[in-house]
């Protein structure tokens, strides 16, 4: 069904199509429309799932963990403070290897309190062991939701996934989306039948034990390796989806857009649409969109960036105390090892809902194209 609808509504439909069995949710702007839509579907009998209207996000993620550990497909969604409140459970869920999928509608973090978009919330969970996929459009959010369960539940992965979409800019925007058919989704995404983790008196197991140093370190190492290995599955599932549904997003890991130019902008999420508009107007700049941010695509980025003259890393987060975005040093690490000679700069923009305009993009390209190691903050003047 191809139609114009609100991003949150579209994502809710995608979730419905994935047939989650337990959904634990707590409202927070701007992700709220997702639980609201799902609650209405349940109230109307259109979705046969248990909805747990928890008393906090801490419990939202905890109940999701409980449900997933019982062997059912489980879902939650949140933003910003909600994700920050879940923090401790987020780490635990990955360590317990539960294939939960969570939609994060990205929003800035307090203090001060601000309800608009940036990506500080998910970026602050980047070490947690969750996969993170950032979407450019609502269509991509829909498609990625469906892919996410397949990735998470893959026996080679068994890790939780954040599907990230920019708050308001995507979640509250009406735009065309093609909502897949249930039949097609069913073919693509089989029911979740876990072999490793399920609470059942018929086959008792102990989950979440205490671990001494050696097994703990061994589990962390394995977890670290497995998160990295998941990249292949992200790609594979993306490709399979593309084949079946006819839609793809770069190579599933990164998307290179006119990346045969001397300058490359690296960015994530909805701002890439605006950047593409600028790329089309120029001949010196291309875009490398990071879709799969965790695991971090070192090889892909090395290949896409190492021969550039200039790389501008655009980020919607600030690593306080580092005076840059979080991805900036990660990219430089990649380029360092690749022996790149590129000049690499950083733009921190779109913080707390600051609008990022084509002019902004044009202008920072001009300002930075001959620089190295500069970090800039955009402040909200559309012509800055």
């Amino acid at each position: 069904m191809k139609t114009v609808m609100e991003g949150s509504n579209a994502v809710a439909h995608a979730i419905r199509l994935c047939k989650p069995e337990v959904m634990a949710m707590f409202p927070i702007t701007p992700s709220t429309h997702i639980p609201e839509n799902l609650a209405q579907m349940v109230a109307d009998g259109d979705l046969d799932a248990k909805l747990i209207t928890v008393e906090s996000e801490f419990s939202a993620m905890s109940a999701t963990v409980g449900a997933s550990a019982t062997g059912v497909r489980a879902f939650t969604a949140t933003s910003s403070q909600g994700l920050a409140l879940m923090h401790e459970v987020v780490y635990a869920a990955a360590g317990m290897r539960l294939p939960i999928v969570t939609t994060i509608v990205n929003r800035a973090l307090s203090a001060p309190i601000n309800i608009w978009n940036d990506q500080q919330d998910t970026i602050s969970e980047r070490d947690s062991g969750w996969l993170q996929i950032y979407c450019e459009t609502n269509q991509e959010a829909v498609d990625t939701m469906i892919q996410a369960y397949k990735i998470a539940e893959d026996k080679r992965v068994l890790l939780p996934v954040f599907v990230c979409m920019d708050g308001f800019i995507l979640s509250h925007t009406y735009e065309p989306v093609d909502i897949p058919e249930q039949k097609d989704v069913d073919e693509f995404l089989p029911p979740y039948k876990p072999e490793h983790a399920f609470l059942d008196p018929d086959k008792p197991m102990t989950m979440g034990p205490f671990a001494y140093p050696k097994p703990y370190a061994a589990m962390r190492k394995e977890l670290s390796k497995d998160v990295m290995k998941a990249k292949a599955v992200v790609k594979e599932v993306h490709d399979e989806f593309a084949k079946k549904f006819g839609r793809s997003y770069g190579n599933g890991i990164i998307e290179e857009y006119k990346n045969d130019r001397p300058i490359a902008i690296v960015a994530m999420g909805s701002v890439c649409g605006t950047i593409k508009e600028v790329v089309d107007k120029r001949d010196d700049v291309g875009l490398v969109r990071v879709r799969c941010y965790r695991p971090f695509p070192k090889e892909e980025l090395a290949k896409a960036l190492k021969d550039k003259e200039n790389v501008i890393v655009f980020e919607k987060n600030v690593a306080l105390g580092l005076n840059s975005g979080a991805m900036y040093p990660e990219i430089k690490d990649v380029l360092y090892s690749a022996g790149s000679k590129a000049r690499v700069n950083n733009v921190i923009g779109g913080i707390g809902g600051i609008d990022v305009t084509k002019e902004n993009v044009e202008n920072f390209i001009e300002r930075l194209k001959d620089k190295e190691g500069v970090v800039e903050f955009l402040g909200g003047d559309p012509n800055e």
Partner: protein, 305 residues
């Protein structure tokens, strides 16, 4: 082994030996008693604490029933998810128990527990109460009794120990509108087990709070665990009751001994002066008077609360 009748068969226990709890641990007795009542068809969702840490040092586990631990503060929310997932799978027959120490229930896990109760999931919450954070070395919890010295409410030159009264979580649970709430003691296993069985006949949230002395944290000989638990009940320091559909009933009406008999012999109370001991005695006397009044009145707690 040839056919000998085992009057008691350790093989049937649902929690295996080899666990790392202290000799004489009251909490593990509580869990053992609990599992004898629930049987195998159960999932346990436990909070961090002595019982979790000492029963599951990877790659070993003492549990023979499905068991999950996630964090210190979320046993009830994890149980909410487990319950709904089991229901969705058509496994309504399986009992779901959220299990926490007093710290994990009365303090840090309290929002989760309260939330789960409010939503009315079909789970039984059991709090084993050893009256302090034992796992981390005997720190004060909301359930630590007035006067007890703990490492964060220590007796000292200008302090006699904890200066607040024990938080009354069973009655708070009643005020949540639960159809079944009870208190219990490890020294009265039949009573405890009957209460568990009765609780499981109710749909929705249920709460049982079981008193489980800790020889290490309270400072008494490991052999005295049951004696101390009994003394708590006999002196009225711990009241055994149930609130079924709002009707309050004392399930044990001891001929109350002086509380001093309970307090002496526990290191945590050794600093108490007569003054504080009388204060505690008065508190108990007052409480029991009201409890008895309540029992004989026809006030239905479920409707007022």
């Amino acid at each position: 082994m040839s056919e000998i009748t085992k009057l008691n068969d350790p093989e049937k226990e649902l929690i295996a030996p080899g666990h790392r709890s202290c000799a004489g641990c009251g909490a593990i007795i509580a869990i053992r008693e609990m599992l004898r009542a629930t049987g195998k068809n159960v999932v346990i969702c436990e909070a961090t604490g002595c019982m979790e840490v000492t029963t599951t040092p990877y790659p070993e586990t003492s549990w023979k029933v499905p068991w999950i631990h996630v964090l210190f503060e979320n046993a009830a929310s994890v149980a909410s998810g487990v319950r709904e997932a089991l229901d969705k799978k058509g496994r309504k027959d399986v009992t779901v128990i959220a299990l926490g120490g007093d710290g994990g229930t009365v303090d840090i896990g309290f929002r989760a527990m309260s939330g789960a109760m409010e939503r009315g999931h079909n789970i039984l919450y059991i709090c084993y109460d050893n009256e302090a954070y034992m796992n981390t070395g005997v720190q004060r919890s909301g359930a630590t009794p007035f006067g007890a010295s703990t490492t964060t409410s220590p007796a000292g030159k200008v302090s006699f120990g904890k200066s607040e009264w024990k938080k009354n979580v069973p009655m708070i649970a009643v005020a949540h509108g639960l159809k079944y709430v009870a208190t219990a003691s490890i020294a009265y296993p039949e009573d405890f087990q009957n209460k568990i069985k009765k609780a499981l006949t109710f749909k929705g949230g249920k709460y049982i709070h079981v008193h489980a002395p800790c020889p290490v944290g309270w400072g008494f000989e490991s052999s005295k665990t049951i004696k101390v638990a009994k003394a708590a009940v006999e002196t009225g320091m711990w009241a055994l009751y149930e609130v079924e559909n709002g009707n309050f009933k004392l399930t044990m009406k001891p001929n109350r001994k002086p509380v001093k008999e309970y307090l002496t012999g526990q290191k945590r109370f050794k600093q108490l002066k007569d003054e504080q001991i009388s204060e505690i005695q008065e508190h108990i006397d007052r409480t029991w008077k009201e409890l008895e009044k309540l029992e004989s009145s026809d006030v239905n707690l479920l409707s007022i609360l």
